[in-house]
């Protein structure tokens, strides 16, 4: 209310001042903007000023009417999402140049008017241990780096500005190449040497091989605080992965398929082994056009439940956003839909941005343009929120 009244008051007084000085009847020095004092000063020329004052009053009345202070947002949440640290520096017993912290939220994403969340979400570049078939726009942006996971990882960090990398050891799948665990471990080692960012390691999803693989990775890279992916629901057979993570100081991903109850059961089981600060959940990222609404709502529900006090869901979330490339509309070479060189990455970017608004903390992504967009958007959204950063452009006339 205050500011607006002052604006109007000021301009009115300026105008009045001008009028009066033109009439040369009175001169104001050290002019005071307080309307009440002003009134006292001008009583002598009441006959001229009175109607003007009345006009001013009605303008002021209008100005006051135009301001309706916002109701204070009621308290919303009571709980805090666990904070997970990924990667360990040399002094912490690892070899990383830096550590990434995710989680720690106290409110829904970008409800800054209620509270500020501490850790901006991050992007992880998706690296595979074999040259899997990918849509052309992706192949084109990786080039030869796809032949060598270490080079591929460097590309994400050095050129695409990703915060960390995810090494997907999918070639270990018995139905793909059945790469022996020994060789897969070597790939992880090469990546750890190529980049000094935190690293996530993913298995193939094969229940038997994954246990063998991820427990071995955990042991060999003791102290690196990797993020091991994943422990699917139901978890019984995967318990050794959680135990290895505990023994050797790593984090795990708890992965359920778009089901909040399954997710809770799975988290509860893992929480018997690991503290919440070691668990990231993957509620499954169905992409744009292929179930994004399920994933969006499941993430929102999980985050709300976590913030309201559900300990088993108060964990940071990740999204396998590169899934977006599975949508036909993303990669189909259909000229009527525009060039897939931009359509594909936009598909990936929009899939990520939608989950960003649902509360996702970590995005596993592929296309440089999509990564850049998501990183930039995150930095904007974590910037100043209470007043606009700049004036709004005149879109009516200037475009």
């Amino acid at each position: 209310m205050g500011t607006r009244r002052k604006d109007l008051g000021e301009s009115f007084l300026e105008w009045l001042l001008k009028l009066l000085s033109e009439s040369e009847e009175i001169e104001f020095e050290d002019f005071n903007l307080e309307a009440s004092e002003f009134q006292l000063d001008v009583t002598g020329i009441a006959s001229i000023v009175k109607p003007m004052l009345e006009a001013a009053k009605s303008m002021e009345a209008r100005a006051i009417e135009l301001i309706e202070e916002l109701p204070k947002p009621e308290a919303m949440f009571t709980n805090r999402i666990a904070e997970v640290r990924i990667g360990a520096t040399r002094s912490e017993g690892g070899s990383r140049g830096r550590v990434i912290v995710i989680g720690g939220e106290v409110t829904m994403p970008f409800y800054s008017f209620s509270a500020l969340n501490p850790n901006p979400p991050v992007v992880s570049g998706d690296v595979f241990d074999w040259k899997l078939p990918l849509p052309k726009p992706l192949r084109d942006s990786f080039g030869d780096a796809m032949d060598d996971p270490a080079e591929w990882a460097k590309l994400y960090i050095d050129k695409f500005d990703a915060d960390m990398v995810t090494v997907e050891l999918t070639s270990t799948d018995p139905s793909i190449r059945d790469t022996p665990v020994r060789e897969a471990v070597k790939v992880v080692e090469n990546v750890l040497q190529a980049v000094d960012s935190p690293v996530m390691v993913g298995g193939s999803g094969d229940p038997v091989k994954d246990v063998e693989l991820l427990t071995e990775v955990a042991a060999i890279f003791e102290g690196e605080r990797l993020l091991l992916s994943s422990i699917p629901s139901p978890e019984d057979r995967f318990k050794p992965i959680a135990e290895a993570a505990k023994r050797y100081g790593h984090n795990v991903v708890a992965w359920a398929s778009l089901d909040i109850n399954l997710q809770r059961d799975l988290d509860r089981a893992i929480l018997n082994v690991l503290p919440p600060e070691r668990i990231v959940i993957d509620p499954t990222s169905a992409p744009l056009g292929y179930g994004i609404e399920y994933a969006f709502s499941v993430m929102e529900r999980i985050r709300i439940a976590g913030l309201m006090g559900d300990r088993e869901l108060a964990l940071p979330m990740l999204s396998g956003t590169s899934n977006a490339w599975g949508a036909r509309e993303a990669w189909l070479k259909t000229p009527e839909l525009g060039p897939r060189e931009v359509r594909g990455p936009l598909w990936e970017a929009i899939t990520a941005l939608t989950f960003l608004l649902a509360g996702c903390d970590l995005f596993i992504m592929m296309h440089p343009l999509a990564i850049k967009t998501v990183k930039q958007t995150i930095s904007w959204l974590y910037g100043r929120w209470d007043t606009p950063a700049k004036a709004i452009p005149n879109w009516l006339e200037e475009m």
Binding site: E65, P73, W380
Partner: protein, 468 residues
Amino acid sequence: MAKKISPMDVYKLLPRLNCGRCGISTCLGFAAKLVERAARLEECTPLFEEERYRDNLSQLREVLRPPVLEVAFGPPGREVRVGGKLVLHRHELRYMNPTVLAVDVWDDIEGDLESRVKLVDSLSYTYIGRELKLNALALRCRSGDPSRFQDLAEKVSKLTDLPIILCSLDPEALEAALLKVGDRRPLIYAATEDNWRDLSELAKMYGCPIVVSSPGNLSKLRGLVKVLNDEGVDRLVLDPGTYVGEGLAYTVNSFTLLRWLACRQGDRLSGYPLLAIPAVVWADEGFRGKPEEASWMEATVTAMMIARYADIAIIHGVEVWQLLPNLILRENLYTDPVKPVSVEPGLREFGSPDDRSPLLVTTNFALTYFTVSSDIESAKLNCYLLVVDTEGLSVESSVAGRKLTAEKIAEAMKEYRVAEKVSHRKVVIPGLAARLKGELEDLTGWEVLVGPRDSSDIPSFLAKYWRI
């Protein structure tokens, strides 16, 4: 929390004639539907036709007023409704009235106005059996000249009957345009602190809803709503300002705060549809003369605003690659979370099948059905596809949730008389339903072939295994 309405409160105010004209035999039944938002007040015709119900009608409107008012604009028959939102999160019920996507045209347009209008009018993409389309035109008075603006309105109205948003801050220009298209009930953009008196007059005179604009100042926005309400103008849409780039934090927060206040704290002054203008990207100094970058940025902002409460979005870029993901995002987020998008069950024919053609089985989840049918179509197969009612669940979910069982398939085979269509006795089930094979064979006596897990492999599967 927004108040919960009981059907009794509504019932008390209905005519209580039990005349059935609303399509439901009792007023109480209709009241229940109204509360669930499964019926509209307009369907009870006596309420509108008879003078004696006038008070009741206005009371009903009040009782049923959603946290976010529903506002309609556009010509009769092609009007769009915006707002009407009941919940903050879609999982709490569902989102009503999908975001209206409006494309701008301007009065000193240098290119071809007609082709731009036609493009907006005709653009359509078929996604799981639905036509995804743009919904409105935003006419900008760019010249500052009321007569040119009027000209534009007139021209546009001859080219299309798409709903219109008239955009200018000059009451004279708006009135000039309203003289030509006022009868199409355009949405008027915008009332500001400087022109709100004139705009409220225009709104009353032409019976049109108006946008209230106060970029960057939510208290003033609410203040404007208040004075307009006091003037008797209630059909409003709010423009809290769409700031892009570094301003995005402000935009997302203010949209969220307004929607929170409306849905959770019952704040009337915030309870109106929200207008986003991702098109501002094009006027931003950082993007002038860089159409690709602007289209890209505009698309990402539009997506976020669709997910965060925009009921209308005005956009400028019309590249298909930028529109398509947002048309789909809107469609996805506005589906009913408890009712998956489904298709009619039944027996479909592809190509020109005969009695020796393959018989395939799938579910009635729209995404499943359209994925399978597009694979069949693109391979130009001649076959039958039996679509089983799984209450809109995909193959794997429905097998797991026992909505797709051997009994269900056997029943559907009977109901849709497949035995009369084919002379063979073979049926192909999806690979993900493999476990139903034995039981289905027992129930029907037919030979059951387990198909591939992904429907894109159906053509090669049939080439290899279909022998009659």
